[in-house]
């Protein structure tokens, strides 16, 4: 070669250590930044533990008892289950506004199939779960194949499902006593058991298992990695061999199934089948996801974070109530937490540090 590339010779002598990393020079803040970048669930965990400690110090054994702490679990179980579904969707950079509606209509299907059509209750429960899965899959199809924005699809689906729910159920509640007498299986997830003062329900156990299973699946299976890749950069995922369409449809379908389980747990929690229940599940699930440190832009965060996020809301709600504070203080603090969580997410994303 001629003189044209001689300029490169100047660099060749120094090129033995191409951009190697020196983690030690990042300083204290750099190390914190790195830890958060690697383990995004750390922030909500710290917030959760410190809020438990603070409420525990202020309220004493009234708050810091097995009973009160497991009461929090019972209070967040429905939101926790729905938020797990929401996490999957948000990891793909989507959003599902229909989660609450799917949960409610699934519970209504379970109740009405049993009491209106006289189907065996086991069959009715399976039908409810399938119904939730079907709506979720339809969401996924509209988003992945018709290429419609998730916000619009699920906003529409929310209205459709909610309206269908009222039309189908004729706005009629199935009373708790009737269910307990004729179809106790519908209330199965509300079954309580006591371990040394700590009270658990099967719904709580289901939530905990669900979180653990999803954490495993997201971390240790190819499908889980694909969920992250699709949320990170769908085009890159497609080019590197991920079936983006199938991944998206399966995520929304699975979210629908999980919402179906949430509907079942909802019957256990309130005892009755009510088409007007669960109205706040959408917002509460998104709140838990955001406080849990999952990025709304997709591809970042962990399901454990969401679980901690749901628990943080539960701790604040119960703690402030026990302190006798106005319930509005809870909402105010949750609002602050949401904004703080997103600010932290933006900071974590600055990887240049």
């Amino acid at each position: 070669m001629s003189a044209q590339d001689n300029y490169e010779a100047a660099a060749s002598g120094a090129a033995t250590e191409v951009a190697s990393f020196n983690d030690l020079d990042q300083g204290w803040l750099g190390r914190v930044h790195h830890a958060l970048h690697v383990t995004p669930a750390l922030v909500p965990l710290i917030v959760l533990l410190s809020s438990i400690i603070i409420f525990g110090l202020v309220l004493g054994s009234k708050f810091f008892s097995p009973f009160a702490l497991t009461l929090i679990l019972q209070q967040v179980q429905i939101v926790g289950i729905v938020a797990a579904a929401q996490s999957l969707v948000i990891l793909t950079a989507g959003i599902d506004l229909s989660v609450g509606a799917i949960a409610v209509i699934s519970s209504v299907v379970m109740g009405q199939f049993t009491f209106r059509y006289g189907l065996p209750v086991e069959v009715a429960v399976v039908c409810g779960l399938l119904f939730g899965t079907a709506i979720g899959t339809l969401n996924g199809w509209l988003i992945a194949v018709m290429k419609l924005p998730p916000f619009i699809v699920t906003l529409g689906m929310w209205q459709i499902v909610l309206a269908a729910n009222f039309l189908y159920s004729a706005n009629e509640t199935i009373r708790s006593q009737e269910i307990a007498a004729e179809a106790p299986l519908l209330q199965l997830l509300g079954f309580k058991f006591n371990i040394g003062g700590a009270v658990f329900t099967l719904g709580v156990v289901f939530m905990l298992l669900l979180v653990l299973v999803l954490a495993y699946v997201l971390k240790h299976t190819a499908w889980g990695r694909h969920v992250y890749a699709v949320g990170d950069d769908p085009e890159a995922a497609e080019l590197s061999g991920v079936n983006v369409r199938r991944t998206l449809i399966s995520v929304y379908g699975l979210a629908g199934l999980i919402c179906g389980f949430a509907g079942w747990a909802l019957i256990g929690r309130i005892g009755s089948v009510s088409p007007t229940s669960g109205q706040l599940l959408n917002i509460e699930s998104i709140t838990a996801v955001v406080i849990g440190g999952i990025s709304l832009f997709g591809g970042r965060g962990s399901i454990l974070g969401t679980f901690f996020g749901a628990l943080i809301v539960g701790v604040f709600t119960l703690g402030l109530r026990l302190m006798g504070a106005d319930a509005q203080w809870t909402f105010l603090l949750i609002g602050v937490l949401i904004i703080a969580a997103v600010a932290v997410d933006q900071w974590i994303r600055k990887v240049a540090a």
Binding site: A15, V18, H220, A222, R225, H226, A229, D232, A236, G241
Partner: protein, 257 residues
Amino acid sequence: MEPILKARGLVKRYGRVTALDHCDFDLMPGEVLAVIGDNGAGKSSLIKAVSGAVIPDAGTVTLEGREVRFASPIDAREAGIETVYQTLAMSPALSIADNMFMGRELRKPGFRGKILRQLDRKRMEDLAREKLNDLGLMTIQNINQAVETLSGGQRQGVAVARAAAFGSKVIILDEPTAALGVKESRRVLELIQDVKSRGIPIILISHNMPHVFEVADRIHVHRLGKRLCVIDPGEYTMSDAVAFMTGAKEPDTAAAA
């Protein structure tokens, strides 16, 4: 010698624009073939047609003597053609190992892999590390670090390593040095030589004449949607190549395709 990858009479039209006009293409085994051409000459369309990213309207693509029809980049990948896109096609938040095995993950043997679908992280990490070492990318310390924490040159290196690890027949590099500094470009050129020394032919699309003339065995000059000529970099100067490519000079009949 038979070309390993051959295209004949490729046509691709986008509405009234003709991107490929009965274009031919030949890649010989073990060679580095550079593809040069002005903007809009149809280089990208040609490369996309042989890598499955676009489906040509007419013409045939032949890989090792057998005609192939790719419906997607995944088809081409399965046939042994790996492409390193200009955008690199990596998920920034995932680790190097995750990215290298994206879409072809290894599962653990037995119950844990079959029933629990558990990934064999250890094996994937070891293989990823081995591939990076093969290409002299020893400076990457932690195979589990997120791709977004790598420098541009390192990312390019990982993308090339991924292609080299899985590309059994042909590797296509689209503008691999366009976004890189002097040192990183040098690294990528060395990577190209490394891959070539292992007998895998490479198609290199580049605007950088010094790089093209340094590594290419033959240069395919693309002009107005078809192959104008194929030249030997030893017999022509960079100025000649630019002149052919821009139409300032016509190649003599011996070199014309």
